[in-house]
């Protein structure tokens, strides 16, 4: 399988970006849920420190992924799609990328506003994006949570679309993002 994309399928690098981000999103939800109900203590700090580090990792991966995407050919959508299906696919993909970047950015800003700076796995500390401000923090936390729900909704749409391609249209749109598949 080729590293680069072809007009027929996604290359190894694009697939790796896709599935690593999927795995990290599952990690993110798990860490956030585990930390959510805890009182401020060592365990909460440690879970949230990991949540922040993974979030920054996702942000970097998304930027690299978009750069890689723009430097490659991308397998086009099948010709038989209706115009509204094309629009829906395009909207979903743009929304996914925007949300994948907006989630870590709003989390990072939230940490800055709270006065709990972000360290990337203890290796280095990121600069604060906004000044410490409790009202701003409350607003950003709400935004971060709302964006998470919007992201879940768009992911659901994305998965539904992929499954529809596979089972209804019976085309290779899903398969070309799966490793170890040939056609």
């Amino acid at each position: 399988m080729a590293l680069r994309n072809t007009t027929r399928r996604w290359g190894v690098i694009a697939q790796t970006f896709h599935w690593v981000i999927v795995a990290l999103l599952i990690v993110q939800v798990t860490l956030a849920e585990m930390a959510d109900d805890l009182p401020l203590g060592v365990r909460k700090l440690s879970l949230l420190a990991r949540h922040k580090s993974v979030g920054i990792t996702i942000l970097v991966l998304v930027i690299l992924r978009l750069a890689w995407r723009s430097a490659n050919v991308n397998p086009p959508l099948p010709d038989n799609l209706k115009p509204y299906e094309r629009k829906a696919a395009r909207f979903t993909h743009v929304a996914l990328y925007v949300l994948l970047a907006a989630m870590p950015l709003s989390g990072w800003m939230m940490s800055s506003a709270r006065g709990f700076p972000v360290s990337w796995f203890g290796f280095f500390t990121l600069p604060d994006l906004v000044p410490k401000n409790r009202a701003l923090y409350d607003w950003l936390m709400m935004t971060h949570h709302t964006l998470a729900w919007v992201l879940f909704a768009v992911i659901a749409l994305h998965v539904a679309g992929a499954l529809k391609h596979h089972f209804v249209h019976k085309d290779d749109v899903l398969k070309r993002m799966l490793p170890f598949t040939h056609h």
């Binding site: 978009l66 990328y97 907006a102 360290s119 000044p131």
Partner: protein, 209 residues
Amino acid sequence: MRYARLCLALAAALFAAATMAAAPPPAAAPAAAPAATAAGSHFVVDPAKSSLQFTFEQAGAASTGRFPRFGVTLDFPGADPAGGRLEVTVEVAALDTGDKDRDDTLKSDDLFAVKKFPEARFSAQQIVKTASGYEAAGKLTIRGVTRDARVPFTFREAAEGGVTAGYMAGKTLVRRLDFGVGQGEWKATDQAGNDVTVSFTLRLTRAAH
């Protein structure tokens, strides 16, 4: 791909908006000329123009808090602090890290235990001149535990419209666990570091004994 660039541009715009919202740090330094000193001086802190801060590591990142209420007296017999005495009392319960949850946690029994130990104290009976300024050697008491401590500082006097002011600044490293600040789960240092840097910038004014 056009829309990959669109996504990048949107993400970059979000990032730029976030970055621009960050305020530049304020910078201010008091300027004053050194002045001649009479023998035997008693200085007390000017709280409005003094700050006592602590910097600690939380989850791998440095965070800062301050003690807004404290008292300082500096007495010395000659032309400078060498041979003098320094007394510092800090109202620990007034600590402020800018986050109520964190402040409450710091004040709790496992950390500063402010109900039982409302005050921290540094009492130095010996001040010596060093290459870069002075060093006060004395007893530091935090959370009821007293240990020997050395605090280096700089000091200069300035005549300010009939008032003799003294500017004192320095910082010292305190290991919180040496004083029992961190019981139970807080004995671990991976999320809350053991090393705490205490720094001070003080304006003192000369007072009658």
